[in-house]
């Protein structure tokens, strides 16, 4: 439990920061559950995967300013966000292909939506497995590279306000 100094009052957490914190936490929990296929079963796995695809779009949109700013600074010799940018790019590829291949091999969610894809190709099964495993390696790195922000905001979010 972090000790919060009484002499240093905690600043209020901005609504946008709070949204980022909880939305990202929900994505992390959602991804962890969706990856645990043996626990969820195929139905929850597929619907949660589709929801994660939508969440991924919103997540990148909410951080689009960072993407543009950091991409513009990539050619500078010194940039602290270069590693994070590379990890995020790899994660974008892995997660997008994971969701896309998951949709292509869907056996429950798509038929429920009356959509049928005449696909019977092992390529997408294997692509889904491979990208899911790459994503499992990259998601925690993506989270950990921002651990200072998470710790800072978390400390303020969970701090009890004096009455």
């Amino acid at each position: 439990m972090p000790v919060v100094s009484e002499s240093l009052p905690l600043r209020r957490v901005a609504a946008r920061t709070r949204l980022d914190f909880w939305f990202d936490a929900a994505i992390l929990v959602g991804y962890t559950v969706a990856y645990s296929y043996g626990f969820t079963g195929v139905v929850i796995h597929e619907w949660l995967g589709i929801a994660l695809g939508v969440a991924l779009l919103l997540h990148i949109t909410l951080h689009w300013d960072w993407v543009v700013r950091t991409t513009g600074r990539l050619l500078r010799p010194r940039g602290p966000d270069k590693l994070i940018w590379l990890v995020n790019l790899a994660l974008l590829f892995a997660m997008t292909l994971c969701v896309a291949s998951g949709i292509l091999i869907s056996r429950v969610a798509l038929p429920e939506l009356r959509i049928s894809l005449p696909l019977d190709d092992p390529f997408w099964d294997r692509a889904h497995t491979l990208t899911a495993e790459v994503t499992l390696g990259l998601v925690p790195v993506h989270v950990a590279l921002r651990w200072r922000w998470i710790a800072g905001v978390g400390r303020r979010v969970f701090a009890r306000r004096p009455r």
């Binding site: 626990f39 139905v43 779009l57 974008l92 997008t96 429920e112």
Partner: protein, 121 residues
């Protein structure tokens, strides 16, 4: 309006990634090994129960999900059985281990950089 503009940009990027995936499938369908080549082929999934993770227990009599569209029983449907929590813990444990490793390395590197710069005031 700004949000929609940014969302459109994100959708464009994601579309490019999906197209790269489709191109990968088109130009190198056998890139995962043991597949491709001429003639029809079919991925053998095996019996439904073999698709379950090792160690996962199936409750006897569990109702398999049929879906509204009459999809035949597919594997195990909704499980969420407490007995299978080990699968979830396993995923969480992997994530926690990677996070811990990266945080330790990052903190160590930062400490070394600070020490190299000398004491700050």
């Amino acid at each position: 309006m700004r949000f929609l503009r940014q969302l459109a940009a994100v959708l464009a990027v994601v579309t490019v990634v999906v197209l790269i995936g489709l191109a990968w499938h088109h130009f190198a369908p056998g890139s995962f090994g043991g597949q491709g080549g001429p003639g029809p082929h079919r991925f053998v999934r095996g019996q439904a129960a073999t698709a379950v993770h090792r160690g996962v227990k199936v409750t006897p009599g569990v109702e398999l999900n049929r879906g509204l569209s009459g999809v035949p029983p597919i594997q195990l449907g909704d499980l969420l059985e407490p007995v299978n929590l080990a699968v979830l813990w396993n995923t969480a444990w992997i994530e926690a281990a990677v996070i811990a490793a990266v945080v330790i390395v990052d903190a160590g590197l930062r400490k070394r950089r600070r020490a190299r710069r000398g004491p700050s005031r």
